[in-house]
């Protein structure tokens, strides 16, 4: 019993292969991002694509690595929408003006 940990077996075992696949996806998306950085896109478009890919990575990490997929749905609903709302509020304050100024420079 010396190797026993209290509270073990709280979750059903998720196969290690699942996590390895999530990791491979994360590395592949990172590779795509690095490639994109070198195909001289307009900064606002590049920012949009990079942030989109990063959000996918964040979702993969939260769902599998952070086990959110296997928790009670109410935990996800309590945490994720409120964060997204606050991020949206912060973005609204800068987005259009930042895009306007970036486009002004491009002219």
């Amino acid at each position: 019993m010396s190797d026993h940990i209290e509270g073990a077996n709280a979750h059903p075992e998720i196969p290690a292969k699942t996590f390895a696949w999530v990791w491979i996806c994360l590395v592949l998306i990172t590779g795509i991002e690095v490639y994109l950085a070198y195909i001289e896109l307009e900064p606002t478009l590049m920012l949009g694509i990079l942030l989109g890919l990063s959000l996918i990575k964040a979702a993969l990490i939260m769902a599998w690595f952070m086990h959110l997929k296997y928790e009670k749905r109410s935990l996800t609903l309590a945490i994720v929408p409120s964060i997204l709302f606050c991020i949206g509020m912060m973005t609204v304050y800068i987005l259009w003006d930042a895009v306007r100024l970036a486009r002004m420079r491009a002219l």
Binding site: D3, Y38, M66, K72, I79, I83, C86, I87, Y93
Partner: protein
Amino acid sequence: MHDVNPEALSSPWSGGALPFATGSKKLGMWLFIASDTLTFTALLVAYTYSRLSNPDWPRPFPFSPSILYSTVMTIVLLASSLTMVMGVRAGARGDRRAVVKWIMATMLGGLLFVGLHMREWLHLIDEGLRPGSNPWGGSPLFGAVFFGITGLHMTHVLIGVIYLGIIAIGTGRGKFTAEDIEVSGLYWHFVDLVWMFVFPLVYLMSVQYTK
């Protein structure tokens, strides 16, 4: 035991002990992560505004060494998240020795990340980058946001390494529960998650094009 109305326990929304069916430590860590997410979001949103609205934002990162190293750092941090997941799994199985082994691997990944990052910092400081000025011309804000954002992230990584060290030692002595290990994993994955935004926004938006 206290005298608890069994109805309350069966219905989480009527004030049951575990409204989200998680322990209070895990819920606490999730709430910390939510607030820390907003701290980093505020920094990254402010940075993004400066980046897009300054016509002369510097692009100081050549492919080698800066982008190459930061890509390797990203993969190292992702790999350390994978070893952390394996540690949490071992914890759920109750395999103490495996937990310590996987957490040590995770700490090694974290230290490698900090080592590579410090090398990058020293290289840029050598070139003359300071919080209020940069040697390449253009917006002087570059140094402030670079050191500010990556520095705060690196602080999180270092705190994570110390946190995991405490968890590893404690688990080796049989002090911590499977939940404690899982909660430390949540923190570590969050540090990884933040880097997934810092890397494209700070590094990839400022690559040096070779003309």
